[in-house]
Every structure is written in structure tokens, then in C-alpha cells.
């Protein structure tokens, strides 16, 4: 369990993280989503006690990270796959980590095996590791202490399709074992496949914290209507607009309706006796849902708020 309470970080006059209050629960994969510069990495660094919060607190299992003596048993984290000494081997890197937390060195071989790094790759100096191997090494480090809480910052960066699938399965199985999995990604499609719960932030503020299905369901679903009768279509558009939906005419024979379900549009067309050639609902992808959620925070970045348009 990760608990954020009014977590705030300011760098000078910039607010990177703005009063974030979230509980990240065990037993599921929580996706951490936001546009670039939204404060995701800063939030993760504060959870790990690397950055000091300006206000509020971040707790892991009810305790501040800096109070933990052997934190690798409590939290495993992959932050930056590039953070390895250029001359140190991956095995020595993990060995030092293991020593620091009283973890037997045979565990190093276990996690190397888990992430699919063989002895030869683990013996290579850090500077020769590819980004993908660095990611695997970072994940190995996160697993070292067999912790109940795991955090991954952009874990699929630099991995090949096999690696991406492997990370996805790993996170799923770790969550199924009852662990708390908190993973950030800029790949919305990846989140759609992996996450159970979504925490979305923009400009450091919490925009959403809900099951992934709800985020998608709540977002816009567009209905496309095609008819060979432009007049009937115009009548349909008028009725839909009156009912509060937003209607856009793609051309004389096609409408795009937002704010009404395909069922409602179909019933209305039947009532009006309009012959339809197509009636299709386009479920929003997570990508669209994400764009809608963060639109305001991006808009806010673009310029001063004129006010009153909402």
C-alpha cells in the first residue's frame, strides 16, 4: 500500500506536484499516467525519499521511506535504467544492493534468472549494457528483496516486443500475488493492457483515480450515422441536438453524434422513419480518454484562462 497525503513539491515558483492525495492499493496494477512533466517521476522519487516533499507526505506500508532500515524488503523500484556505474558489472551492482539489505547473494542469481539475464550479460560493465538490458537489470534490482510494493517508471522503454509482453505478464503475476504495483508509462495503449486502476495527473494535480474501465466508459463515445436521405438525417440531427447531444455533419449523408448512445440514435431514427445504412458506436480508446482528461491541464499550460467558458 502506498499512501500519498497532500503530497506537494515546488521547485522555485514551479509546482511539480500539487497536493496529491491517493491510495495505491495492493493486489492490482495501478497505472500512473500523465503528460510529460506532469510530475510522475517527482512523485515516485518522493515516495522513495529521494526528493523531499515541500508539503504533505508519502508513506509506504504506513511508514516514510527514509525511516526504513532495509527498504528493499518493503519497496522495489526501477527508476532509471541508465543509473549504473559505467565500469561496474550488473552482477556487482546487484551484489552491492543485496549486501546493503542483508540479502543472500544467491538471490542475485535468482533475480538475474527471473529477468532473463545470463551470466555473460551480468558480467559486462554497465557502459556496454543496452537500454533493454539496463531495464531488465533494474527490474532485477527491484525484485531483489521480494518486496510487497513495486514501482516501475516507464519499465517497457527500450524493450523489444517479447520484453514488453514479459514485463506485462510479470506485473500481472506480481499483482496477483497480492503485491502493490505502481507503474508509470507514457504508452496509453500499454496501460490499457496492463493496469486495473488508473491514477492520472496533469500539471501535478490529480485528474482521475478510478478503475480503468470507468475512465474509458466515462469518456466520450461517438456514434456514426449514415443514411441515403439527407433530409431525414437533418431531422434526426435536429432532434438529437434538442435532446442535448452534439451533432456534427461529416457530409450530407453522415453524422457524428456525441452525447447519445447508438441505441438512442437508432430508436430516434426508427421513430422518424429515417433509413440508415450505418449506425456504429466508436468506443473511445484509453488514448482518447486520456487526452480528454488532460486537455484542461495542457490547455492551462498553453496560455491564460479566459474564464467562463465552462
Amino acid at each position: 500500500m502506498i499512501t500519498l497525503r497532500g503530497l506537494t513539491k515546488r521547485f522555485g515558483s514551479t509546482v511539480a506536484v500539487d497536493a496529491l492525495t491517493v491510495d495505491i492499493a495492493p493486489g492490482r496494477v495501478t497505472g500512473f499516467l500523465g503528460p510529460n512533466g506532469a510530475g510522475k517521476s517527482t512523485t515516485m522519487r518522493m515516495i522513495l525519499g529521494l526528493d523531499r516533499p515541500t508539503a504533505g507526505q508519502a508513506l509506504v506500508g504506513g511508514r516514510a521511506y527514509r525511516e526504513l532500515r532495509r527498504p528493499l524488503h518493503e519497496v522495489g523500484a526501477l527508476l532509471d535504467a541508465r543509473a549504473i556505474h559505467p565500469a561496474r558489472s550488473g552482477r556487482a551492482h546487484l551484489g552491492a544492493m543485496a549486501h546493503s539489505n542483508g540479502i543472500p547473494t544467491r538471490r542475485v542469481d535468482e533475480v538475474l534468472d527471473t529477468v532473463g539475464l545470463d551470466g555473460r550479460a551480468a558480467a559486462k560493465p554497465g557502459r556496454t549494457l543496452s537500454l533493454g538490458m539496463g531495464q531488465r537489470l533494474g527490474i532485477a534490482g527491484a525484485l531483489l528483496g521480494d518486496p510487497p510494493v513495486l514501482m516501475f517508471d516507464e519499465p517497457v522503454n527500450g524493450l523489444d516486443p517479447d520484453g514488453v509482453r514479459w514485463v506485462r505478464q510479470l506485473m500481472r503475476s506480481l499483482a496477483d500475488e497480492g503485491r502493490t504495483i505502481f507503474v508509470s508509462s507514457h504508452l496509453m495503449s500499454e496501460m490499457q493492457l496492463t493496469a486495473d486502476q488508473l491514477v492520472v495527473i496533469g500539471r501535478g494535480r490529480l485528474l482521475a483515480d478510478e478503475p480503468i474501465g470507468e475512465v474509458i466508459a466515462r469518456s466520450t463515445v461517438a456514434v456514426r450515422v449514415r443514411s441515403p436521405h439527407p433530409d431525414g438525417l437533418a431531422a434526426l440531427a435536429a432532434r438529437l441536438t434538442a435532446a442535448g447531444a452534439t451533432v456534427e455533419a461529416a457530409d450530407r449523408n453522415e453524422l457524428t453524434v456525441v452525447g447519445a448512445t447508438a441505441d438512442q440514435v437508432g430508436d430516434l431514427a426508427h421513430e422518424l422513419g429515417v433509413r440508415l445504412h450505418e449506425l456504429s458506436a466508436h468506443a473511445a480508446s484509453l488514448e482518447q480518454a486520456f487526452m480528454e482528461l488532460t486537455a484542461d491541464s495542457v490547455e492551462y499550460a498553453g496560455g491564460p484562462i479566459e474564464g467562463g467558458h465552462r
Binding site: 524488503h73 552491492a96 546493503s100
Partner: protein, 273 residues
Amino acid sequence: MSTQTDTGTRPAIAPAAGAAAAFRGAVAAEWTKLASVRSTWWTALAGLVVMAASAGQLAIYVANGNTNDDPADDAGVVTVGSVLIDSVELTQYVVLALGLLAITAEFTSGTIRTTLQCTPSRGRVLLAKAAVTGAVTFALGLPLGVVGVLVARPVLGEWGSAPVIDTIGDIVAVATYLALIGVLALGLGAALRSAVLTIVVLLATLMIVPLSLQEPDIEVLNRIADVFPGVAGGHFLAGDTEPYPPLGGLLLLAGWAAAALLLGRVALRRRDA
């Protein structure tokens, strides 16, 4: 009544981690890190080479001074230990790189975040690094002293003496001095983060500033220079009884090293990693 069982499927780990065990772990980690990069071993080798060269050259100066026509530079018969001690002035800059790199390389490569993830207590991390740096530089100081003596002795020839007990004492003193200088470099490195900046500050503190103070030979300035770590360490090594006993010089140097560590701890605690 049924027995209550833990419903969690995760294997329970109960790390019985006392502060002492946590410190031992941090020390083991720091040693692994230091020993697993080749630059550590190259630095040690470079130290031996610089010591041999420096001790040889200084011994030649003594021998030449005694045999040339100028009576003003005659040093007479000197102990091999005194040549060794003078050689440390240059050799220390190679040795202190070990303390320096132990922390600045972590900032450069970004591994400081991994280190602090493993050991969140900034004080514990720095103390573990100090223990390893101190032990390694002390252990390196002993062979350095032996090499200095082995090179200087034959070069000095009739102008040198090597009383066994005194020479061994000098070698141990040199190792002690280098250990404290190494820790001083570590603490400063933690505070300043940059290797280059730390080297500049160390050069100024160990050599440039005290030399400038001593240059005009004014009593007050000399007394101020005596407080600087390099000068204090020099008084300790030379066994001077003025301006303070040798132990005073050692304690002053140790005080500098401790102050640098404290400074580094404050910086590590306050700054974001």
C-alpha cells in the same frame, strides 16, 4: 475456533534489521562497489608509482645537497622516514582520489539514487563510505610507506639512517594520515558533488592557502596556517612538539575529516538526489 491464518499470498519476510546490522550491510555494499571498479586498483597502483618516484627524487636532493659545494643546503644524515613523510605531500593527491570517487562517481552515474534506495539514512551511507575509504586508504598507506622506504634508503646511502622502530612508526603514521585525508575528501565530495570542484577545494585547503599564509613568515599567519588540515597532519607526521604536540596535529586533522563528513551529511539530507 479455527486457527487464524494470514490471507496474504506473498511470502512473509521479517528482516530483523538492527541499526548495527544495517550499518554492516552498508559497509559490505560500499566495499563491493569500490572493489568492483577497475579504477580503484589503477589508483592504488598509481599511488605506488608516485610514491616511488617522489621518494627517490627527494632522497636524491638530500644526497646532492650534502655532496655539492654549497654548505647552505646540507641536510646531513636524515632518517628515511623523513623522506617518506615529505613524499606523502604529492602522493596524497592520488590516494585522496579514492575517497573522492567513492561519492562523486555516484552523482555522475546516477547510482546515488540506488544507494539511497538501499540505505535511506544519509548518515549511515556516508559513515559506511567513510569506514571503507578509511580502511582502504590506511591499508594502501602501509605498502606505500614500505615502497617509499625501500626506494629512499639505497638512494640516501651514507646520508640516511633507518632506525627500525622509528621507521615502522613513520609508516603507520603515514597510513593514518592518508586514511584521514581520504575521509576528508569523501566528506567534501559529498558536499560539493563535483570531483573537479572537490579537487580544487582540497588543493586550496591542503596546500595553496596554508603556503600563502606561511610565505611572509608572520607569526599570526603562521599560527593560522597551523590549523589547516595539511599543516596539522604534517606536524603530526614530523612528530613536531611546536606549536602543538603530535597528537594535537592528529586530532586537528581528524576534526577536519569529521567536519567534512558532517557537511556532506547535511548536504545529502537537504538536497534532492
